[in-house]
C-alpha cells in the first residue's frame, strides 16, 4: 500500500481519492479491532498480546479516522469537480495527507506498545495533538480560501463543512484544556469541560458528514434547490445550536451547576423538530431519485435515513434526565454511539465513497461487484440491527439491575452476558458484511490509481 501511495504521489492523482483509500483501510482496521475488543468481553483471555486496554483505543481511533478521512477526501474531491471551486492550493492537501498518515502511524504504535497519557478517545500522549492541529489548520485555510471565492448563494453544505472544520479546531483545542492545572485539578470542571468539548467535537464531525449527505442527495436526486432552501438552513441552524449547547446531556450526574443541565435538557428536546421533519419528508425522499445511475449510493443513503430516525429517537429518549438516570453508564450509551457512527455516519460516508468511485470508474462497476456489495449491504444492516438491539437490551437490563435490584458488578455482568454474546456475534457478522462492501471499492480505487 505504501508503495502505491508513493507512486501515486508521483503521478499526482486526485488527492481526494487517496484520502478515501486510507479511510477505507482505517475502517477495516477499526472494525477488526472492534471485533477483537468485543470478543474480549466474552473471552477475557482472547488475544493476550493486544488486551482490551489496547484494542479499545485502537478500535475507536481507527473508526474516528475513517469518519474524518472519508469526509475530508470527499470535500477535496467535490469542491473542484462539482462545486466549480478549484482548490486554492493543490499542494496543501498533500501535506495534510502525509501529516495525517505519519501521525496516525505513530498513534497506533503508541497504543500497541501501551504508551497512553491522553483521555478517552484521544488516549495517545498529548504531544501528538500538535501535528493533528496543524493538519487541520492547513485544511481549514485551504477550505476557506477556496469557498470564499464563491459568488451567489451558497448551498447549505458549504456552510456545514466550514462550520465542521472551524469547530473541530475549537473543540479539539478545548479538549486539551486539561493540560492546565486550573482545568485538570478540579474533577467536576475537568469532566464537564472534557464532555463539553467532546459533545461539540462529535457535533462538528456530524457537520462534515451531514453536509456530505446533503451533497450526495442533491446529486443523486439531480435537484440543486434543496440545498439552498430556507428549510435546509433552518435545520442547519438548529443542528448548530445543538452542537453548541446540547452536550451536557452526557454529564447529567456530574455535580456541576444545575443550570448547565437544565439548559442542555431544553436544547436537546429541540431535536424533536428535526425528527419530525425527517419523518414528514420520508415518503417524498424515497420516490424521485435518479436511482439507477447511483443505485449503490442511493441504497446507503436510504439506510442512513432509517438509522437517523431510530438513533435520533433513542437520543431524545435518553436525554430526558428521568430516563438518563437509568441508561447512563450502560451499554445503551454504546448503542447510541455505535448506532449513530455506523448506522448514520458510516452509511452516509459509504454512499459518498461509492458516488466518488462511480465518478472515477465512469460507472463501469462490474455487475459481479454490484451483487457482492448489495449482499454486503444487507448483511451489514441486518447484523447492525441485531447488534444495536442487543446493546439496548444489555443496557436496559444493567440499568434496572443497578437501580432497582442493586446487584453487584459481577452479578450484573453475569446477567447480561447472553446479550453481550449476541452483540459479539453480530459484530463479527457486520465485519464480514463491511468487508464485502469495502473490497470491491478498494479494487476500483486500486485500478484508478495504477492506471
Amino acid at each position: 500500500m505504501m508503495e502505491q501511495l508513493v507512486k501515486n504521489e508521483k503521478k499526482k492523482k486526485e488527492i481526494g481519492i487517496v484520502f478515501i483509500l486510507l479511510a477505507l483501510i482505517s475502517l477495516i482496521g477499526g472494525v477488526f479491532f472492534g471485533s477483537i475488543s468485543a470478543l474480549q468481553f466474552i473471552i477475557p483471555d482472547f488475544l493476550n498480546s493486544i488486551p482490551f486496554v489496547k484494542s479499545r483505543p485502537l478500535h475507536v481511533s481507527l473508526v474516528v479516522a475513517w469518519i474524518f478521512l472519508s469526509s475530508i477526501g470527499g470535500i477535496y474531491y467535490y469542491l473542484p469537480r462539482y462545486c466549480n471551486l478549484p482548490l486554492f492550493s493543490n499542494k496543501l492537501p498533500r501535506i495534510h495527507f502525509w501529516i495525517f498518515l505519519f501521525t496516525g502511524v505513530i498513534i497506533l504504535t503508541c497504543y500497541i506498545i501501551g504508551k497512553f497519557g491522553g483521555r478517552e478517545y484521544w488516549e495517545f500522549p498529548p504531544i501528538l495533538a500538535i501535528p493533528i492541529f496543524i493538519s487541520w489548520i492547513l485544511f481549514g485555510f485551504n477550505y476557506f480560501k477556496t469557498v470564499f471565492k464563491k459568488v451567489g448563494q451558497w448551498p447549505v453544505y458549504l456552510w456545514m463543512w466550514g462550520t465542521g472544520i472551524f469547530f473541530f479546531l475549537f473543540t479539539f483545542s478545548e479538549s486539551y484544556l486539561w493540560l492546565f492545572p486550573y482545568f485538570r485539578d478540579n474533577i467536576v470542571r475537568d469532566i464537564t469541560v472534557q464532555w463539553k468539548a467532546y459533545g461539540a467535537l462529535v457535533g462538528s464531525w456530524n457537520m462534515l458528514v451531514y453536509g456530505t449527505a446533503i451533497f450526495v442527495m442533491e446529486r443523486v436526486k439531480g435537484d440543486e434547490s434543496v440545498a439552498k432552501s430556507k428549510l435546509s438552513y433552518l435545520m442547519y441552524f438548529l443542528g448548530f445550536t445543538n452542537l453548541l449547547f446540547g452536550w451536557a446531556h452526557h454529564i447529567y450526574i456530574v455535580p456541576s451547576a444545575p443550570w448547565i443541565r437544565y439548559f442542555a435538557y431544553f436544547i436537546s428536546m429541540t431535536e424533536l423538530l428535526i425528527l419530525g421533519k425527517i419523518i414528514w419528508n420520508w415518503k417524498n425522499s424515497l420516490s424521485e431519485a435518479k436511482k439507477d445511475f447511483h443505485i449503490i449510493s442511493y441504497r446507503f443513503i436510504v439506510a442512513s435515513d432509517i438509522w437517523v430516525m431510530l438513533n435520533l429517537a433513542l437520543a431524545l429518549v435518553i436525554s430526558v434526565p428521568a430516563i438518563n438516570i437509568f441508561t447512563h453508564g450502560t451499554h445503551i450509551t454504546v448503542a447510541h454511539a455505535m448506532g449513530s457512527t455506523i448506522g448514520i455516519n458510516t452509511m452516509i460516508l459509504l454512499a459518498s465513497c461509492f458516488f466518488l468511485i462511480g465518478d472515477i470508474t465512469k460507472h463501469q462497476f462490474q455487475l459481479q461487484h454490484r451483487k457482492i456489495i448489495k449482499s454486503g449491504f444487507w448483511i451489514t444492516n441486518i447484523f447492525l440491527m441485531i447488534f444495536w438491539l442487543s446493546l439496548l437490551f444489555a443496557g436496559a437490563e444493567k440499568g434496572k439491575l443497578i437501580v432497582e435490584d442493586k446487584l453487584s458488578f459481577q452479578e450484573i455482568m453475569q446477567n447480561i452476558s447472553p446479550y453481550l454474546t449476541v452483540f459479539t456475534i453480530s459484530g463479527i457478522g457486520m465485519f464480514i458484511g463491511l468487508l464485502m462492501v469495502i473490497f470491491p471499492a478498494l479494487k476500483a480505487i486500486k485500478t484508478y490509481l495504477l492506471n
Binding site: F52, I191, F240, S256, A322
Partner: protein
C-alpha cells in the same frame, strides 16, 4: 433567508457560545466538595490513571469503557474502601490486568480515587423523578 440574516444568526450563536463557555469554565464548575483532598499525591494519581488508560474499562460518573465497574465511589462503598481497592491494583484479576505498580503509584491512585469519591455520587440510586422529567437527588 438572505446572506446577511444567515451571518447574523451565525454570529449571534457563536457569541452566545463564547459567553456561555466562560460561565461553564468558571462559576458553572466551581463547586468541588472534595477540594480539601486535592494534593500532590492525588494529582499524580490522576496522571497515572491516564497513563495506564484505566478509562478503557472503568467509568467515573458513568463515563468511560464498560468492561469494568464505575469506580467513582469505590472508596466509600459498603464493604469496599481503600484496602479493597488496593488489592485490585496490586494483583489485577482475570479481567483486570496487573499493571505491576509500585507502592508509591498505588498510593497515588488511591489518593486520586479518594478525592473523586468526595466530589459526588455515581451511579445515583436514590432519586426522585419530577413531573418535568428532571431528577432530584434524595
Amino acid at each position: 433567508m438572505n446572506s446577511n440574516s444567515k451571518r447574523l444568526i451565525f454570529g449571534g450563536l457563536i457569541l452566545s457560545f463564547f459567553v456561555y463557555s466562560y460561565f461553564v469554565y468558571t462559576s458553572g464548575t466551581d463547586n468541588d466538595k472534595g477540594v480539601h483532598l486535592i494534593n500532590e499525591q492525588s494529582k499524580r494519581g490522576k496522571l497515572l490513571f491516564q497513563n495506564y488508560n484505566c478509562t478503557a474499562c472503568h467509568q467515573i460518573y458513568g463515563l468511560g469503557g464498560y468492561m469494568g465497574p464505575d469506580i467513582t465511589n469505590v472508596i466509600s462503598a459498603k464493604n469496599k474502601g481503600p484496602v479493597y481497592a488496593k488489592a485490585f491494583l496490586q494483583g489485577g484479576t482475570p479481567r483486570m490486568p496487573n499493571f505491576h505498580l509500585n507502592e508509591k503509584e498505588i498510593d497515588e491512585l488511591i489518593a486520586y480515587l479518594t478525592y473523586i469519591d468526595k466530589t459526588g455520587i455515581s451511579p445515583i440510586i436514590d432519586f426522585k423523578i419530577n413531573y418535568d422529567g428532571t431528577v432530584g437527588q434524595k
